[in-house]
Every structure is written in structure tokens, then in C-alpha cells.
Amino acid sequence: MQAQTEYGYNSKIEGDVVLTTVDAALAWFRKNSVWPMPMGLACCAIELMAVGASRFDISRFGSEVMRFSPRQADCMIVAGTVTYKSAGFLKRIYDQMPEPKWVIAMGACASTGGMYRSYAVLQGVDKIVPVDVYIGGCPPRPEAVLDALIKIQNKIGQQPILRGTVAAKLLHLEEK
């Protein structure tokens, strides 16, 4: 049997080669391991549990690591009715999350106050924290939460990480 001679690159041994930029690679790492902070305030939190459970399985999208400590989370999912009383600690928890961070307003109440047009309820969590994705529904189906997560992932994938930063200059990633 004649020995085969390898010329150049063998993808069967070395694996596929993907050409990309450092920024895009970092964004790809980042968007596929979004760690949610489950801010469960009302019945939407029950649907959020279903999203994390086996039937809908949020770990298919890399977000199964729900952290109840804001220091270890980068995506706050506001699930439920935000009262004025809870608005204060919601803002404090958001402020404790390290940058970069994103917010999903899950359901009608978190998005607009929902059916609670009353003295006690904040009319949309976007009055105190910046919201990236709103989910309609009362409560939303778990698929809608997964859809919102995919939208967040697309957004994260397009955000520059190193471009224009000091680190990029030090690594000579950018032309002067």
C-alpha cells in the first residue's frame, strides 16, 4: 500500500478553519453564554421556570446558568409586575450587574404596566432601566421568551467589543 503524502493543510486532522475577526469571535463567545438574572416578580416567573425546564430547555441557547446573584449575570429578565415598591430594588440589582448587560421586559406588565393602571404599579420597567427586548403576552409563551433570547443574541453578536478600545490598540488589531 502506497503511503499517502499530505500536502498543505489537512482538514480531517486539523479541523475546519474559520476566518474571522477577534471582535466577531469574542461576540460569538459572548452571545452563546448569556447568563440570565431571573427577576421574577409575578406570574410571568412561572413561565420563565418553564423556559428553563426540560420541555423548552433554555440551555439549547446557552443560557441555562440562571444566576440569582446580579454580580454573576449579564441579562436581566424582568418577569412580572413591577410595583413602585419593588422598582427600587430592581434598579439596585440592575446597577449591581457588571457591564455589559442587557434587559428583557417579559410580558405586558413589565413592558407597560399591563392591566394594572393603578397608583401602585410602575407603568413599564423602561422608566427605570434600559430595555433591549420587549415580549408581549400575559404571560408570554416560553417560545416567546426563547425568541427574545435569540434577538438578544443577535444584538450581542453585532455589538463591537474591542473596536476602538485601548486593548485593541495594544494588540495592534486596528490600523492607525
Binding site: 427600587g88 393602571r117 393603578s118 397608583y119 401602585a120 410602575l122 407603568q123
Partner: protein, 208 residues
């Protein structure tokens, strides 16, 4: 012993202070004319008549009338199954009556809720703080003269409130065969008010 017999015993004990008993659909109510005596009446009902369970205390705002407040105590004897309702009126100037916390410990949170929502104080209550709203909130939101949309307030570092846009509310489900948007509109204008609710049409933001 029935609830009516218990009510008669209370009436025999306190005499002219107690009006009633009145019966409505099998439920017995007593009216106490002097709210300062509420502790003595409740204490008697528990120690002597076996009403060992305070189901609830509710407060009514008879806005525009005098006396403004009505306090309603729902009593129950667990062993006998008797239920008794005890009412007393409190004037707006006073807005205070004795706490029944030494009789039933569960009165603690009931009275705190009434204080929070209506602003009626309970003398002798050891811990009369707000229970639902935060300390420092300046209003009592279940009073009839408090708007559903709320009033602006700000307590830095604690909480703030804003006026809620009512958009033609308050919103109640309109009985109709229409779709969900028609039954439960998010914004109510003269255009989307259904013919079936002409008796509840909005005039200047109020249901008439």
C-alpha cells in the same frame, strides 16, 4: 348555642351600646355605637362566647357622609362554627379606635393594613406601620377621594410614584361578543366605546 344567641348575650351585656342583632341571609350583625368600646366587646366575645378566630377586619369609606368610616369585624368560633359580624362607625376627625390585638394576635396585620390603606389609627397597637406601601408614602390610597391613577410622590432612596395615564379608564371588561380588544381595550375613546355600554359612556374621563 347559635350565633343569634351569642349576639343576644352581647346585647344583654352591653345594653344600649349595641344595636341589633340584625339578620340578613342567615348572617348576624351587631352595631356598636361607641367605637371606644370595641376592645371590651371583642374581649367578651372571645373569652365568654368562644369567638376565638378573627376572620377579618375591613374598613369602609362612606365618603361624603358622617361618620366617614365603618369598621367591620368578622368573628368566628372554630369549635361552634358560629359567625358574627360586628360593625362600628368612626368619625373622620377622630379616625382612631382601640386595637383588638390583645384579643386576637392576628389583628396586628389587619389593623396595619387598614392604617396603610385608609389612614385609620388603632390606639394601643404596638407596631402601627404601613404594611403594603413604604414608610413615608404620603397618602392612603384606598380612600374614596384618592384617584385610582395615584398621585406623584418621591422619597429619595426609597421609592417614587407617578400618575398613571388612565387613557379613558378605569378599565372593566365590557360584556360583548366582540374580540378581546373590544372587550378589554387598552385605550378607551368615544370611538371604541361599544353601543352596549351606552349607560357607562365616558364623559370627561368619568364613567357616567
Amino acid at each position: 348555642m347559635s350565633a343569634l344567641e351569642s349576639a343576644n348575650k352581647i346585647q344583654a351585656k352591653f345594653g344600649a351600646l349595641i344595636a341589633g342583632p340584625t339578620e340578613f341571609r342567615g348572617e348576624i350583625s351587631l352595631k356598636l355605637s361607641d367605637p371606644e368600646q370595641i376592645f371590651e366587646v371583642c374581649n367578651f366575645a372571645k373569652r365568654q362566647l368562644g369567638f376565638d378566630y378573627l376572620v377579618d377586619i375591613s374598613s369602609v369609606d362612606n365618603y361624603g357622609e358622617d361618620p366617614r368610616w365603618t369598621l367591620v369585624y368578622h368573628l368566628r368560633g372554630v369549635a361552634s362554627g358560629e359567625e358574627l359580624r360586628l360593625k362600628t362607625d368612626v368619625s373622620e376627625e377622630k379616625s382612631e379606635l382601640p386595637s383588638v390585638l390583645p384579643v386576637w394576635r392576628t389583628a396586628n396585620w389587619h389593623e396595619r393594613e387598614i392604617y396603610d390603606m385608609m389612614g385609620i389609627r388603632f390606639s394601643g397597637h404596638p407596631d402601627l406601620r404601613r404594611i403594603l406601601m413604604w414608610e413615608g408614602y404620603p397618602y392612603h390610597p384606598l380612600r374614596k377621594d384618592f384617584p385610582l391613577a395615584g398621585k406623584p410622590s418621591d422619597l429619595p432612596g426609597v421609592a417614587f410614584t407617578q400618575v398613571t395615564p388612565m387613557e379613558g379608564g378605569p378599565f372593566v371588561t365590557i360584556p360583548s361578543t366582540g374580540d378581546a380588544i373590544g372587550r378589554e381595550p387598552r385605550v378607551r375613546t368615544p370611538e371604541n366605546a361599544e353601543p352596549g355600554i351606552s349607560d357607562q359612556r365616558l364623559v370627561d374621563g368619568k364613567l357616567k
